[in-house]
Amino acid sequence: MQSSELDFKKYRQLLIRRKELFVTLALLIMTAVTIVSFALPKIYEAKSTVFIEKNVISELVKGLTVSPSMEDTIKVLTYAITSRTLLAKTADSVDMNLAPNNNTETEEELVKKLQKNIVVQVKDKNLFIISYKDRNPRLAQDVVNTLVRLYIEENTSSKRGESYDATKFLSEQISAFKTKLDKAQDEVNAYKRAKGTAISIDEGKLFQDINASQQKLIDLEMRRRQLEGMRQVTKTTSDPLRSKLSALQKQLHELQAQYTDSYPGVLTVKTEIESIKEQMKTSGGGQALDSNELAKVDSEIAAIKISEGGLRRNIASNQALLRNIPAAKAELDKLELERNNQKNIYDQLFARHGQSEVSKQMEVQDKSTTFRVVDPAVLPTAPISPNRLAIMLFGIAGGLAGSFCVLLFLEQMDASVKDANFVKEFGVPVLAVIPHILNPREAAMQHKRATRLFTVAGVYFLFLLCFPAMELLGLNYVDKMITYVSPANLVQDVKGHLR
């Protein structure tokens, strides 16, 4: 508090003591800033607003058509607009590269300059403001408009080209797949023709058939055995001894099961069997079979055997057929699958082709997303930079501050004795401190001088204030004056007069 008050007093003293320097310096700084504000090149900004709109039709035919994604378009717009090619084209078409005093600028530099000065702002996702700053207002306007026009043209044509390309590609693919599909179909047909039986026969039925045949075969075999047995039987039943022997042998077996060999019953039977065997030997086995009957049986057996052979062959062929069916079917399936795949792709391609056709038509007729220039760039009348008013006001403040800083600096640099305490360190007693003598005449003169200075300074300050005021009111007398007296114009004038 104490020190700040002291500081304040010190600064006030400083200002009072060097008021003339302060005022002069401040005015000098203000003047310099004002001059600079007028000398700074004027930069104009042209702006164009572009709206990317989605057409109603595109909403209607959603799903039917394939339009280039708007998000993508927006995403790359900034880059696309500042792309080298587009800028070079723009520069070319507004004749920037032919402009006077531009000989040293290569195209590279020109493009860089354009890139630097172009600003693309995105607003509400599909509203774009493209602005360009240049010293020449007309050029600024031209650049923006040309740039927007070229971009839209390029974008439209590229979208069209894309659609054309897509359609063309699809039709190429369709024809290619058509041949493939046809070939697959042919293969399927040929195979079917070749393996028709194997494919068309029902497996279950064939199986049943085989089963039935086998059953039949078994029946036939049984019949044959029977007949063969009957033949034997026909042979034996005509001999009573044999039947008696077999009965006796049967009886013996029964007895032996119950009794020992020495059992009288067993012995009896044994002897009886012996005796019969004796009898049979003596009789000499006389064949007393009915020959007619036998022939009949034999022929029947032969017929059955032939029938059996037929059945067996039938079964074998059927079984072979059955074994072949899965392979044939698998092969067919394979062929059919291939064909189906081709067909699937073909169908899809065909559907897409239809969409692309519509898309193409939409692009051709400009019915999809369109760039609408909401606000074409107009000739900028007022420069955006330099902001003279701000610069001048800043200059006024800066003049005061700067001047004060200079005073402080001078004060800092001033190594002279500043107060009585200062000289005490020399070890010499300070005998008296003589205050500043106020000479009324000199004081009056100084006062007069200060008054004069302040009057002049005040008037000059008011004069300086005129410039920001003019700027505020939008009067451009100074500019007119500058253009009138600018060296280039003078040279032109002189040249004109010489001619």
């Binding site: 190594a415 005998l431 003589i434 205050p435 500043h436 003598i437 005449r441």
Partner: protein
């Protein structure tokens, strides 16, 4: 014989160069040897009325500045008037020009002269830029340089101002070689003569700044005391340091801090404002 007659006689002797000051005597002895008598007051040709506002002790004796000079005077009197000797030659100098030497010398001289006890002779030893005359509105051709160069009688150059008992010796005609003049034997003799002529007379020398000119330094060694004037915001710290060092070996009485911008609200000084 009245004292005045004696003085006149002395002056006449001086003019004839009969009575040179006793040389080489230590001051103490000399002081005692000379009887206490007032210096001759040269006839006042016309009473000068300097109206320079900076001569505060003359024109504005009640101002705080005049009071400061009076304070300076009393301090100085205390310092120079010992019990057994009187350091009566005082030189006023500064480090650089325009620090207010002449005004300090003048105001101090006036202040001293206004007292009844002292006669004062102010010598303008600043041959390079003499300004005492200017402040006092005196127009005189002859002065110190003439005494040294042409042997003009010193009595002829003394001008009574009519301000108390203040007389002055102006610088005289401009010379090209003040250094040679001041380092000459004649200068030494002259100072000795003036110094011992009247015991209660103060001799105040206004000199050129010490840093710039050599004569001040040689003069300083012949003085009883040196008053060093420092003006606010003029000489740098370095300048003053250098000047003080240059004065080493001399009787540096003290500093007069001149032209101070004082805070008017400072209590120390408000008293004076009330008083005046």
């Amino acid at each position: 014989m009245s004292r005045i007659e004696k003085a006149m006689e002395k002056a006449a002797q001086l003019r004839d160069g009969v009575a040179p000051p006793p040389e080489g005597h230590p001051q103490k002895r000399v002081f005692r040897a000379i009887p206490s008598q007032p210096p001759p007051i040269p006839p006042v040709a016309h009473k000068i009325r300097p109206d320079n506002p900076y001569l505060v002790n003359l024109n504005d004796p009640h101002s705080p500045t005049a009071e400061e000079y009076r304070k300076l005077k009393s301090v100085l009197v205390k310092m120079t008037k010992g019990e057994d000797f009187f350091k009566n030659t005082i030189m006023v100098t500064s480090a650089v020009p325009h620090e207010g030497k002449t005004l300090t010398a003048l105001n101090l001289a006036i202040s001293l002269a206004q007292e009844f006890d002292h006669t004062v002779l102010l010598v303008d030893a600043d041959l390079r830029s003499p300004s005492v005359q200017r402040y006092l509105n005196i127009d005189s051709g002859r002065g110190l340089s003439d005494v040294l160069l042409d042997g003009t009688d010193i009595g002829d150059t003394i001008i009574a101002t009519g301000i108390g008992k203040l007389s002055i010796i102006p610088a005289g005609h401009a010379v090209s070689n003040p250094v040679e003049l001041f380092t000459s034997q004649k200068m030494k003799e002259l100072i000795e003569e003036m110094k011992y002529r009247y015991p209660d007379r103060y001799l105040i020398f206004d000199t050129p700044p010490i840093l710039l000119f050599a004569e001040t330094r040689s003069l300083a060694h012949q003085m009883d005391g040196v008053l060093f004037v420092v003006k606010e915001r003029l000489a740098s710290h370095e300048n003053i340091k250098e000047a003080v060092e240059a004065l080493k070996g001399c009787e540096l009485l003290g500093m007069v801090y001149n032209d101070a911008i004082l805070d008017r609200h400072d209590e120390r000084y408000s008293y004076y404002h009330k008083a005046t």
